[in-house]
Amino acid sequence: MTSAVIYNTAFDRLKDTDTVAEATRRMLDDRVSDLPVVDAAGRLLGMFRLDRLFAVLLPKAASMDYGMPDLAFVSDTIEQLRERMREIEDSPVHEFVVKPDHVVHPETSPLEMVLLLYKGANNIPVVDPDGGGLVGMVSARDVLAALHDGGTR
């Protein structure tokens, strides 16, 4: 059995030229913390993730490996964070794209999907192995829906 019965083909995606402002607005609307980013040909470039965005808002000393373990002693206000956010809002999302932790194919087995989700994967891109085109996304909710109603969508 393949994952075709599980993954979602009606998903939101970002173009690499979309701005951070556009991306974050859609993330707020869709109530998601990451979105796939594709090029003009529909090939997956990577993921635009909120944690990557938050890393930009932080001092470098906090977001790097072996950096500050906590910032409780820094008294920056929400206005200072907004100021930093405004500085990057017009930047294209491709500057913030990260490689997805996992990519699956339409032929990937459902058990493998569940294993990845069990291990902490959140929103996994489904990519056509031949052309690299993004054909769907699969999340824990998609698996749950498939388990409940047979999942043909």
Partner: protein, 447 residues
């Protein structure tokens, strides 16, 4: 052949033990310098070959491992790794920054002093791992270039580490091999280290310090840092400070209580683990202890272990005696010339090669000179020359000491590049100044 009599038959294929041991030693050092293979792996492989080739028996190899050095390193690593969770080091760094009203040059000085003091009691790599992120945070808030600050911290960590028995691995090795105590090191080296610290920061002021500027708003933001919030675990902080004080007290009373530093450090680490885990569920205890043990620098510890066996190999085969004779011949058996040659050669070599294997080789070499210079007691100035040269020499280049590379790596992650030649241009002359001062100090105090 030196020290090899009655030993040839044990070596594989009947080869000369001197040649086999030398070949292994040179090959391992060459691979370490090439950095193509992890240094712990190659040192352990080399040690294994010393035994398998018959240069040393397994029993001899085990006897050659200096567990006092390993224990002291491990004990201090554990104490620091537990203590760091309390937020103590961030607290001190922020407190120091605010003491100078967040003025850029003042911060450079204070962060360097904090780094030097921590380095005198902790290992240098751990110290810079704890202090550099705070420096990067503060320089980002002040919108000043972090390079001068990080450069100064590299120097401070290597200079501060030279001041005590436990500050830098070469001193730990020298102390363990000679029986010199914490107080011996502090009494002999701390005065010149203070002078070198001051002398280093005068040129740094003219190179960078006088150009450092920060806006009043940015300084105000740093002054709003609340250092008390950096303390994340008050109970652990009290426990850690108590244990650190007792351990350092134990080092200072080493001669009176007759206990080796390794025992003091490992016992201190064990007691800290005990009090930190007291009353916790067994599962949580296992998790805590596993985390503390896994954060020890096992690569360094295994590297030491392999090196001890390798150096024993060349010592047993007679190469160390031959090298000592050659050095004595070159200096004409002149004690002062020998001591100052050791200082300068150690400094220049340690700027380019790892000072740990260098010192591991020099220790038996210096010991072999004892008959010429009136026994073990007469060697004292040579040990101080080796310590000052090997520890301070590490400042000369970016690859001269582990702390340098760690700072460069952290800086790169934060977007500040450290280039070999750019660093060398300022660092090598500064390192030479520190060796000139050491030369004068050694000459007038010990020669």
């Amino acid at each position: 052949m030196h020290g090899a009599s009655g030993h040839e038959s044990a070596v594989i294929f009947g080869l000369s033990p001197l040649w086999v041991a030398t070949l292994l030693f040179v090959a391992v050092y060459a691979i370490i310098m090439s950095e193509k293979v992890n240094r712990a792996i190659i040192a352990l492989v080399g040690a294994g070959l010393v035994i398998l080739s018959g240069v040393a028996t397994q029993h001899e190899a085990m006897g050659a491992v200096d567990f006092n050095t390993l224990g002291l390193l491990l004990g201090m690593m554990l104490i620091v790794n537990i203590t760091r969770r309390s937020g103590l080091f961030q607290y001190v760094a922020i407190w120091a920054t605010k003491k100078v009203d967040a003025r850029p040059w003042g911060i450079l000085l204070m962060m360097s002093i904090v780094t030097a003091v921590f380095s005198a009691f902790l290992d240098n790599v751990t110290t810079v791992l704890l202090t550099v992120p705070v420096t990067l945070l503060i320089t980002e808030e002040l919108k000043v270039k972090p390079y001068p600050y990080l450069f100064a911290q590299i120097f401070a960590s290597n200079i501060g580490g030279t001041a005590t028995l436990i500050g830098d691995p070469p001193n730990i090795m020298i102390g363990s091999a000679t029986g010199l105590t914490f107080n011996d090191f502090a009494y002999a080296l701390t005065p010149v280290i203070i002078v070198i610290m001051v002398a280093t920061f005068v040129p740094l002021y003219y190179v960078w310090g006088r150009h450092l500027r920060a806006a009043a708003d940015d300084r105000w933001r740093v002054m709003q840092f609340n250092e008390r919030e950096a303390i994340t675990d008050v109970r652990l902080l009290k426990q850690s400070l108590t244990i650190i004080a007792l351990v350092i007290g134990g080092f200072m009373l080493q001669r009176q209580i007759g206990i080796e530093p390794a025992t003091i450090a490992v016992f201190g680490a064990a007691v800290l683990l005990l009090v930190d885990n007291f009353g916790k569920e067994p599962e949580e205890q296992s998790k805590n202890v596993h985390a503390a043990l896994s954060e020890a620098e096992w690569i360094t510890l295994m590297f030491f272990l392999g090196l001890f066996v390798l150096v024993f190999g060349i010592q047993k085969a007679g190469l160390i005696d031959m090298m000592a004779e050659a050095l004595l011949k070159a200096t004409g058996g002149d004690f002062n010339l020998t001591a100052l040659s050791i200082l300068w050669a150690s400094a220049v070599l340690s700027a380019f090669i790892d000072n740990i294997p260098f010192v591991a080789t020099m220790i038996p070499l210096i010991k072999a000179m004892a008959p010429t210079f009136g026994g073990d007691a007469g060697l004292l100035p040579l040990w101080w020359a080796l310590s000052l040269g090997a520890c301070l020499g590490g400042n000369g280049t970016l690859i001269g000491a582990s702390a340098n590379l760690v700072v460069a790596g952290l800086a790169e992650r934060a977007g500040t590049a450290f280039r070999f030649m750019e660093y060398l241009k300022v660092a090598f002359p500064l390192m030479l100044i520190s060796i000139v001062l050491s030369h004068v100090y050694l000459y007038y105090r010990f020669l």
